[in-house]
Symmetry: C2
């Protein structure tokens, strides 16, 4: 066994299916790594729950993934990243990443005039985590946040390109036009699936930041520093865990992401 | 104390705010009764969860309301009525009602040609509870069921009369036009808030059955048989309990129902 490689899996979790956009990007970028995806579908959505509840759920999920021997942990859920990541980091010794810091770093690299918008669930926007993280990284930027509560159900039902979706995206994002933004963080893992509609409505001038791309960059950096990679000879595998209703998970997963190699989903109790 | 009256409260529960449409109708119809409303907001929605999980949650809610001394219990939630009511009735001695049986009785009174449609969440439709109940009451009726998964988020966000809502209702209900229905059960407590759009799209020929009206009829009958009413001199009160995020509950409650006398919401742990 080569001690320069670590064949243990990377744990990825989300309140439901949204994190699959992040998982997909990671599977593509790191084909030698094993992954365990945990969707806390019994308690989805986190986005409407209180901070203390989200923290408690995040810790339970973390403990389960630690028991399965993961070498690193990704909270592929904006709400859990915003409200649970500090507790997760206090609780475990392995590297734990959320989507917020990588998203903010990507936004700061992309911005031309320092005017950055953030869209997300109500809970993510209310948590103020993106704004606080952006300001802590660069106090000179100006930020504007808008909640987009209907985007998640539209994505989960597969209405990506419907005229009703266009109307809802148009009306929800209308206040952004006067903000003169140059960059917009898609602060919810579901939103990249509406990227083409959002881009069309906002125009090419605004650069969209997709968490799944940002987290891949982050892991790429960590794989040369804090995380020991798997052997390039290893063929990565994917284990899917949910806390409820495996068939619903497969149904939505199939509707929103067609090219994921999910064959089997295991139900667990947290 | 007059032994012909029973001042104990009536317990009403839902997975979230949807049951408030039922509560509103009951407050209006029974001004002398005390009510306790319990919204299981920490675990909303029930509609995407498994049957065993919904049964377990329903029993926990029931036990909490029994501990508070309710004289009757109303599951103002189609999913809990479909999947939890048998367990609730096995668990407690007081009268327990769901929205499904009253809704079915109302539909059977309304139907002219025995062609009844049912719309609800995916879980309610998948449970087949409305169809089974209708058939058990009148084997000659023909039923058709359609899930309308986007109606709940549209209602919770207050998009009652928006063109996007109209488009979504139109497209979702399009398959109903060829079914030649004379009656449609609004098999989700949120749906009465879209009644005017649904009625406009389906036309006046189809009679819409609203759970909140049906349950008031049911309680009216039980108040002369199985439930002892409160003294007419009593002024009814309302106690609101939620399992998470009181401010979110008040926000959505305010958005969907403007005339409810909710002043205080208590957070409980189940």
């Amino acid at each position: 066994m080569n001690k320069n490689f670590d064949s243990r899996p990377i744990g990825v979790f989300d309140s439901g299916v949204g994190g699959l956009t992040v998982l997909r990007a990671m599977l593509h970028a790191f084909p030698s790594e094993h992954f365990i995806y945990l969707g806390d579908t019994a308690r989805v959505p986190y986005g409407t729950k209180s901070a203390s509840t989200i923290e408690r759920y995040s810790l339970q999920v973390t403990q389960h993934l630690l028991n399965r021997g993961v070498k690193a942990l990704v909270a592929a859920c904006n709400t859990a990243s915003a409200l649970g990541l500090d507790a997760i980091r206090n609780h475990c010794l392995i590297p734990a990443m959320g989507v917020i810091e990588p998203g903010c770093r990507a936004a700061l690299r992309a911005t031309t005039h320092g005017r950055i918008g953030i869209i997300g669930t109500r809970a993510t926007v209310r948590s103020d985590a993106y704004r606080q993280t952006l300001i802590s990284m660069d106090p000179s930027v100006t930020t504007v946040s808008y909640p987009c509560p209907l985007f998640v159900p539209l994505v989960e039902e597969g209405w990506f390109h419907h005229p009703a979706t266009r109307l809802i995206v148009e009306e929800t994002l209308a206040p952004l036009h006067q903000e003169n933004l140059d960059t917009l963080i898609l602060g919810c893992t579901h939103f990249p699936l509406l990227k083409s509609v959002i881009a069309e409505i906002l125009g090419a001038r605004i650069r969209l930041i997709d968490s799944s791309e940002a987290i891949v960059d982050e892991i790429n950096q960590q794989l040369t520093t804090r995380i020991v990679p798997a052997s390039p000879d290893q063929k990565g595998t994917l284990t899917c865990l949910v806390t409820d209703a495996t068939e619903r998970f497969l149904e939505v997963a199939g509707r929103i992401i067609h090219d994921l190699p999910i064959e089997h989903v295991e139900m667990i109790d947290l």
